[in-house]
């Protein structure tokens, strides 16, 4: 499971026999089956996009004239805006379909909505839905490329990619790192996508959660399971905190937010258990004082704000790659 370092140039343009295969995907539905090569390609592209976004002229126009539709059945300002900005920086025409204003509220099924949109021939559809498999269903029925922006508890591949980019830019690599994902693993698509990507790229993944928040047989996904922060944090290079979904969990999976914070919250004492140069991550939005202490979220080891910046870059890279734009690395 090798991973291409960003600075190397393994291809000689006049030696086609050594040319690596072109980006293999038409859709990005999940990280589970994505090859290390494709992951590395996306991360390398995203690195260059970071620079684009930092210029004052942020346009690349590689996808000028193409149409992107954001189809978000779940509320999400941050992810939706991130995809919108990404599309616009590549010169695309972006349409945001907020479900509230759409015909879905009038009882139209998911497929009917999508087929209606499909008839308008978008190039790219970004979809977020509360049902696992929704993005896959659309990709089978529509002609355009589909990016899964989160389907139920299943996958959120661009989140895993932006997390990986953040880690790689901070640590210089992914393989061999020890990464702990802490919190509501059972209901988290972010956890699943990260587990698949990090394992593919050779990292050592741990999950830390009370038993009620661990999905059945999670160890078989290739992670080491810990039921206590004190047991799982020592030796970690990366600590990734997940949001406790208090609105749906009160009393059911964990008794209360205060009990959760007492035993699983990331505070300074627990951070000290990890490696001294460990980075702290969170996909957002954070519950300060529930899964993470405020001072840790804002502290020197936290890369939470960079994650958001990486999000736009990663989404730009994914869109270009799916549209078959040649990499100019």
């Amino acid at each position: 499971m090798s991973q291409l370092p960003p600075s190397s140039r393994p291809l000689e343009t006049d030696a086609p026999a050594f040319q690596l295969p072109a980006f293999g995907l038409k859709h990005l539905l999940g990280m589970e089956e994505v090859s290390p090569h494709d992951i590395a390609t996306l991360l390398d592209r995203a690195d260059t996009m970071v620079e684009v976004s930092r210029q004052s002229e942020k346009r690349r126009n590689t996808l000028f004239g193409r149409t992107l539709i954001n189809l978000f059945f779940e509320n999400s300002t941050r992810t939706q805006s991130s995809f919108e900005i990404a599309g616009k920086r590549l010169g695309m025409d972006v349409v945001n379909m907020a479900v509230q204003t759409s015909s879905v509220k009038k009882g139209e099924t998911l497929l009917d909505t999508a087929q209606t949109l499909n008839a308008m021939r978008p190039d790219l559809l970004v979809v977020r839905h509360s049902a696992a498999g929704a993005a896959a269903l659309l990709s089978q029925k529509l002609g355009c490329s589909v990016i899964n922006a989160g389907d139920g508890a299943h996958e959120h591949p661009t989140q895993a990619l932006l997390d990986a980019l953040t880690i790689r830019r901070s640590k210089g690599r992914l393989d061999g790192l020890t990464v702990a994902i802490c919190g509501d693993i059972a209901h988290s698509r972010v956890a699943r996508s990260n587990i698949h990507l990090l394992n593919t790229m050779g990292a050592r993944v741990r999950v830390i959660a009370p038993s009620t928040l661990l999905p059945s047989r999670v160890d078989e996904l290739g992670v080491t399971v810990f039921k206590r922060m004190e047991d799982g944090l020592p030796g970690c290079d990366v600590v990734m905190m997940l949001r406790l979904q208090t609105e749906r969990m009160a009393g059911a999976f964990v008794p209360s937010a205060r009990e959760y914070y007492r035993y699983f919250g990331l505070d300074s004492a627990r951070v000290r258990l990890a490696n001294p140069d460990a980075i702290i991550m969170h996909p957002g939005p954070m519950n300060r004082g529930v899964e993470i202490a405020s001072d840790i979220a804002d502290g020197v080891q936290s890369v939470i704000v960079e994650q958001v910046e990486m999000g736009v870059a990663v989404r730009m890279a994914v869109m270009e790659a799916l549209m078959g734009v040649e990499s100019n690395l």
């Binding site: 038993s211 206590r228 009393g251 059911a252 999976f253 008794p255 035993y263």
Partner: protein
């Protein structure tokens, strides 16, 4: 749990039949206590140091104090029935030196603040150790888990919904799973809410009396469910109050499978059967209900062969107003702290169960299961002891009970076996000779 200091100095208990279920020790000898802790047992021990006392035991049985795993107390909320203080007095008179208090109070012990109140009150008001349990679900409503971690850290020794059975299997499953992470013990009664709505055991007696019956399945079905959930979650569970032969078999099978389960039987279900209800006598209305003689004998056999681990009093004080009603309207419950030993000794007197085994079920087994360091006579152990005469004949008079409530089914019963002294951390908290 309590930081109460032991009685300073030494006490030598001389000439006792010393019985220690932990080791099987059964000798005629002496036991030395210092500063509230056991020092040693032996024959003809040296006299105590200068400010020590010698207590003549006259050959009576000296054994670890009883540990009662299921006691209902009315404080907070129902102090007229029983306070922590009065329960402590009743326990001392009955030889119970440690008891697990059920969370069925008002408010329910489902929060650290209530637990703290109970703990503090127990420490200052009770002569014996009253250890609180906390509920599994908030308000005993069977829906939301309580804060097992915080409650355990605040002193809850186990988690139980008291008189109630958690009806939702998913809630019980999550509770067992979550508790497992903290190594916490869950305890439960088994009475299905719907199937168990009757007022006595279903059967011919209920039919003749015209009373609604609880079928045995009201206990069997939730018990079987909980065994499956324990297997699934690898949790720790104690079935507190069983009453049917099928329940004993279920426990036996669960133990054979290696599940971490134990079981207890209430005193009444060991000693009485449904015919004792007689003429609608409400002091015989208990939960679980008195079953038929076959079930009672199965409980005795379960104690004898080790399938059942302990005997509890199921002490449930109820005021006159709730018992002086037609049977169908009366409250469940019988007091039992003061009759626990004497009635349990019936199993010994009848020849069914050896004395050491009876004592094991009353002290060592509950202590071990609840994770308490008592119930044995090891060096350094708490000097929580009882001195009793297994053959002392007496008749129970309810007016002499120390409990605030008088709802005992053994009123007027001829009993054989009585506590002469109860000692907690070396201090005598009850002496029969001081009673009028």
């Amino acid at each position: 749990m309590t930081a109460t200091r032991g009685k300073p100095g030494q006490q030598l208990y001389r000439n006792a039949r010393i019985m220690d279920p932990a080791t099987g020790l059964d000798i005629h000898g002496d036991l030395l206590v210092e500063n509230g802790r056991i020092v040693r047992t032996g024959k003809d021990l040296a006299p105590p140091k200068k400010n020590g006392a010698v207590i003549q035991c006259d050959g009576h049985v000296l054994t670890p104090g009883l540990v009662d795993s299921r006691v209902f107390i009315g404080e907070p909320g129902g102090e007229h029935r029983e306070t922590i203080k009065s329960a402590g007095k009743a326990a001392a008179a009955g030889g119970v030196t440690t008891l697990a208090m059920m969370p069925d109070t008002e408010p329910v012990i489902d929060d650290v603040s209530v637990l703290e109140f109970v703990r503090k009150t127990a420490k200052s008001k009770s002569k014996v150790r009253v250890l609180p349990t906390a509920s599994i679900t908030r308000g005993l409503e069977g829906k939301e888990m309580t804060e097992f971690g915080l409650l355990r850290d605040a002193g809850a020794i186990a988690f139980t919904d008291g008189r109630k059975t958690v009806g939702d299997a998913q809630v019980m499953r999550r509770a067992l799973t979550y508790a497992g992470d903290f190594g916490a013990l869950l305890m439960g009664a088994h009475r299905d809410h719907a199937l168990g709505s009757g007022v006595m055991n279903a059967g011919l007696n209920a039919t003749r009396l015209g009373l609604s019956g609880q079928p045995r399945e009201a206990e069997i079905i939730p018990l079987e469910r909980d065994m499956r959930l324990v297997a699934m979650t690898k949790g720790r569970f104690h079935a507190s109050s069983l009453s049917t032969s099928d329940s004993v078999e279920i426990i036996a099978r669960a133990k054979d499978k290696g599940l971490d389960v134990t079981a207890g039987v209430p005193l009444a279900n060991l000693a009485l059967n449904e015919t004792d209800i007689g003429d609608y006598r409400t002091f015989f209305r208990v939960s679980p209900p008195l079953r038929d003689e076959q079930d009672r004998l199965a409980m005795v056999q379960g104690i004898k062969d080790g399938t059942l681990d302990m005997i509890c009093s199921n002490h449930d004080p109820q005021e006159e107003d709730t018992k002086r009603l037609p049977f169908a309207d009366a409250a469940d419950g019988a007091v039992g702290l003061e009759t626990l030993l004497a009635v349990a000794l019936r199993l010994y007197h009848s020849g069914d169960v050896p004395l050491m085994r009876v004592l094991e079920c009353l002290s060592l087994a509950p202590a071990r299961r609840l994770g308490l360091k008592c119930g044995c006579l090891a060096k350094g152990a708490r000097a929580d002891l009882i001195l009793f005469d297994p053959d002392y004949p007496w008749v129970l008079e309810d007016t002499k009970l120390h409990s605030r409530s008088r709802n005992t089914p053994f009123q007027g019963a001829r009993l054989s076996g009585r506590v002469l002294k109860t000692i907690v951390l070396g201090r005598t908290v009850f002496q029969l000779e001081d009673q009028d």
